[in-house]
Assembly symmetry: C2
Homo-oligomer: 310 residues x 2
DNA sequence: CTTTGCAAG
DNA sequence: CTTGTAAAG
């Protein structure tokens, strides 16, 4: 998720750390026209193939699994009852997963990753109703695998990848390693895709187009909306993956999955679409729907759902 | 204040860090007979000298001035309306004192001390209705003065000293520096007392006698109740100071000023008397009363009041 | 603004 | 258990 000033910076695009930023944000807040959430529509139950939804996946950046649990995030998951749950920013290793999550009857096959020696930072989880054929950690890259940001579950007919793409950092201090991750990650996805179709759920830490964040022009050089990061997303799509949400809703505005905690951004829907399901093109016939659930609380991100006829 | 296990250790006196400590504490909790707070009695308004209360002092370890303010601690102070307020563990330097405190009309002369380069740690404050003749920082000792634990205000007829005596640390890891502080501090008090009478208010981080904590036998080697620390208190009294509360209430049990936040100690009055007013013996004729206010919330310590006919 | 871990009590 | 802190988002 973008840093401190990324949503407040709308007023002073050249300097998100400007001393007047809060004042400016407050002024902006009062002037800003209310932006509604997209209308809620029913899930399309039938895929282009004619088959009906057979598998549901949820991806959610929980911004701290334990706080998310306290805030009731798990209750929504239990109602949604996905077959696969991809969690990002768990901020806890397997040993610290609370029992309420660890002992979930509906999702008994659980895989957790967390960077060595950085407790409370980053971390991903992949929870499955059915046991995968196999689960792998990382993207087979020595630079990036210690950061423990990717989990892959192999099922008979497809891979599920859970990913938490690194943030470029305040002041873009970590843009270069981020871009190297993007390249290595795309290479990994392509290798998987050569074997079986892929469904990727995760926080990709990029708003792809101007439609994908509330204030594009103010965030031209903000982490999560640099040209370089956006081109990384272009590259994934060019390599044969689909942005499932945009396939379903090609021009829907104000559909965001992240709102900074600063300055009451969420209540005004000043957000970013950073969380995605990407699917191999040959899964298009199986794509029933992809839903963003912006009203679901528990984190500064909301969950995203993917419905597949598989 | 005593460390983590100091109140829970009653069950396993030899090992406060025993893995079963929480379980033990829970068991103890259910068995433990309820211990009432001492009965509230009216303030004695007339001193042995026959004169009436003319000056009120309050000492309070606030365990974080900003949190204490949020919890409404200042409201009680405003009602109590002391002439001098001694605060310990402010955990903030002068520059971080919230405006609500900084701009107090009733206590406009304020002096704050905080250790260099340790923000959020320790810290004391001395707030006065009338401007002191002079205020000094520390105890004129190069080992201890950087820790910024003592403030002294000189008034025409007496000194007021605000002190936060260092904790001996978990496992008594800092007992030796603590004992050196005790010696240097007593030397300092004696030098003051040779000039004018002294009224010292503060967290002395010691329960003097078995009457001064709920579980003396379990805490024989706990910080705040070692023989060495208790002898330090003996030494102050032997040097010509009075424990104002004990002068007034020589045998009153269960009169505590601190309760660990752990395990619900306060609701069961499992506490320690660590906060004192000590006065020069020649102030005895001026001693009207000294009150512990155990129902006043805002910190893990409660305030103590000293009433003098001055 | 919020989370985490940390040191300290 | 609670404080304040830092790093991170």
């Amino acid at each position: 998720m973008p840093p401190n000033g990324s949503n407040a910076s709308q007023c002073t695009p050249m300097d998100p750390m400007h001393p007047n930023a809060p004042q400016c944000a407050a002024a902006k807040r009062s002037r800003e026209s209310a932006v509604p959430l997209p209308e809620e529509t029913p899930v399309r139950e039938v895929a282009p193939s004619g088959k009906r939804v057979g598998m549901r996946l949820v991806s959610w950046n929980v911004a701290g699994l334990r706080a998310w649990l306290r805030k009731g995030g798990l209750k929504w998951v239990q109602d949604a009852a996905p077959d696969v749950l991809c969690l990002q920013e768990t901020k806890c290793g397997a040993e610290s997963v609370p029992p309420e999550v660890r002992d979930l009857q509906a999702l008994p096959h659980q895989y957790w990753a967390s960077p060595e020696g950085k407790p409370g930072y980053s971390g991903v989880g992949l929870l499955c109703r059915c046991e995968p054929l196999r689960v792998t950690y990382g993207i087979d890259d020595p630079e990036h695998d210690p950061s423990a940001r990717v989990l892959t579950a192999e099922f008979p007919s497809f891979f599920v990848v859970c990913a938490y793409v690194p943030n470029a950092g305040r002041g873009l201090t970590r843009l270069q390693p981020r871009l190297r991750f993007d390249a290595a990650f795309l290479s990994y996805l392509s290798r998987l895709d050569a074997i079986k179709p892929v469904a990727l759920g995760g926080d990709l830490n990029v708003a792809h187009t101007e439609l994908d964040l509330r204030h594009p022009s103010a965030n031209r050089r903000s982490p999560g909306f640099t040209d370089e990061e956006r081109r990384g997303m272009d590259a994934i799509l060019a390599a044969g993956f689909l942005d499932a949400f945009r396939v379903m809703y090609p021009a829907l505005p104000h559909a965001y999955t992240f709102w900074t905690y600063l300055g009451g951004a969420r209540e005004r829907n000043v957000g970013w679409r950073l969380d995605y399901f990407l699917i191999s093109e040959r899964l298009r016939p199986a794509l029933c729907d992809c839903k963003i659930r912006p009203r679901v609380m528990g984190s500064d991100h909301c969950p995203v759902e993917l419905y597949l006829a598989l």
